[in-house]
Amino acid sequence: MCCSHELTEKDLAPITANPIFLEKIKGMRFFDPHVHMTSRTTDDYQAMADAGVVAIIEPAFWLGQPRTGVDTFRDYFNSLIGWERFRSSQFGIKHYCTIGLNSKEANNERLAEQVMEILPLFIYKEGVVGVGEIGFDDQTPAEDKYYRAQLELAKEAMLPVQIHTPHRDKKKGTQRSMDIAIEHGLDPRMIIVDHNNEETVKEVLDRGFWAAFTIYPFTKMGNERMVEIVKQYGSERIMINSAADWGISDPLAVPKTAALMLERGISIKDIELVCYQNAIDAFAQSGQINVSEFDTVKEIDQNLKYNGSSVLRGGQQPRVDKNATIIR
């Protein structure tokens, strides 16, 4: 979300195509472990596939508009394991998700109670790699209550936890999230603390948690800062994501940051860990990630694309020339 940032002339200028970063990272594969594709278009899926994104995790979150009944949550969770997964497969991208009650909506207690009741129906599903994104927003007592309840649920299901840390009072909120997780007996290795910054990263790593960074313009991390963080802290237990959603955000944040890291002298091995492997290692603890499936989903896509069939089948998405004036 871009709320406080003041727009300059430069921000308003038309975006010119600059695919240079694509050239640099050709042949590399990326995993974006936090991206809300529900709020994105198929064009984004295509661009992500072109940039080497092979798999993603879509955490359940706040959709940006009020939800007044439990059925809208049920339908949303359903779409994460159904429709969105299919949409992603059409572009050869393996789709996983995390399921949870987000902190903002935990404050509607009547509804939160009902959502808690349906969570067990979804967290055991194929491709659900964690409970998330959960944690604090305003750090209210209700948020505390449902955060704890969901930690217990994750423990029982032996699933990783994806923690959203607050925008306001971030440092304290991050510490508190970790304290509570430890208090409930969760292993820090099963917890991915998200939306870190320069102020929070050291403690998160020192305490043995995974530290995720969201490359998101104006409100979270910029990727130049991210490069500096990797230079300082290395690549162990660090991962990046785009958290692209309905706000001004960039679903290509992971490949773009990889290109920048390469340009600024970070080793290929470190880039691979931060942009691909660490996220897999963290979330594969769910027992739900099988890397060979990244290829299966690609093969399906490619077979359909190149078998020379005159009839499109299996939901293949025909390519549209975006630069053409004529639309057929």
Binding site: I81, R85, E126
Partner: protein, 295 residues
């Protein structure tokens, strides 16, 4: 009537296929889950196992021999698991382990599975429609599935599935065929395609062809298979258009459509190309072969 076929034999056969192809460890897991379920009868246990199946059974493609294929079809005509992923076969088997004594409870339990199903679970549930008890209960659910936009779900209902032709109303059936054509499915794999062809469907399809032509797009030649038996003055002009196409497959489709009718002008037209007619008479040209050429 709960099961309209020999459920015990089907269950044994599916189990054998899964056990053969998924390996000993997988079979052991499945057997243990079944024992726990039989003893406890706890629905949550049933649901969790249904969801967990791919983790333990895997997704390797099931290849059955002709004996097994014939055995499956002998129990439920038209039903096969050839080419299914292993987890889908195991899930079909698992569904047969639900008690059917209480119809209301049985239906409710399946609806619950449908309502919280992920993509592969949906495909498994719809693929298992011909095996479910109380078959008349699933027609609305099937119509709902046809409205889905998920390709794998659509295919599980539309292709190689004997349930829809047996139980759907004409309107719902036409919806299925229409959507299959609209989403470019291999419609030759729809079971009961010719048996359930009807005049209303033929009329909808010719309208659809007109729309495609008006937009400068092509029309799937297989569409004329469903128009052929109902050719009349109106649709005959369409057949003639396809008959005069530059595309060989389209011309063959028009010929096959003409061979399906007693409408005199169509029979007349077919005589104009004796070579094509001879091929059709000798069965070296038919819809199945045409379908293969397309794919």
């Amino acid at each position: 009537m709960d099961y309209v076929y020999d459920k015990e034999r089907m269950s044994a056969l599916l189990y054998q296929i899964v056990a053969q192809q998924a390996g000993d460890k997988a079979e052991l897991w499945l057997r243990q889950k079944a024992e726990v379920w039989q003893q406890s009868g706890a629905l949550q246990q049933f649901n969790l196992t249904f969801s967990a199946i791919p983790r333990f059974i895997g997704k390797n493609q099931i290849i059955i021999d002709s004996t097994q294929e014939a055995a499956l079809k002998a129990i439920v005509p038209g039903f096969s698991v050839q080419g299914w992923p292993a987890d889908r076969v195991a899930r079909a088997w698992w569904l047969l382990q639900l008690p059917v004594a209480d119809k209301t409870a049985y239906v409710k339990q399946l609806e619950t599975l449908f309502d919280a199903a992920e993509m592969n679970e949906l495909a498994a549930l719809y693929g298992a429609l011909p095996l479910l008890a109380f078959p008349e209960e699933w027609t609305l659910r099937t119509a709902e599935g046809i409205r889905s936009n998920i390709g794998t779900v659509q295919e599980a209902i539309m292709l190689n599935n004997p349930y829809p032709a047996l139980y759907l109303s004409e309107a719902a059936w036409n919806q299925l065929v229409m959507k299959a054509i609209f989403t470019d499915k291999q419609i030759g794999r729809i079971i009961g395609l010719d048996e359930r062809a009807n005049a209303a469907l033929a009329a909808v399809l010719t309208d659809y062809a007109h729309e495609r032509w008006a937009a400068g797009r092509t029309v799937n030649p297989m569409l004329w298979r469903l128009v052929g038996p109902f050719v009349n003055e109106t649709s005959f002009s369409d057949i003639k258009r396809v008959w005069n196409s530059e595309n060989t497959i389209e011309r063959e489709a028009a010929a096959l459509a003409c061979a399906q009718t007693t409408y005199a002008p169509a029979i007349e037209l077919l005589r104009e190309r004796p070579a094509l007619k001879a091929e059709i008479d000798a069965d070296v040209l038919n819809w199945n072969l045409l379908s293969e050429k397309l794919n």
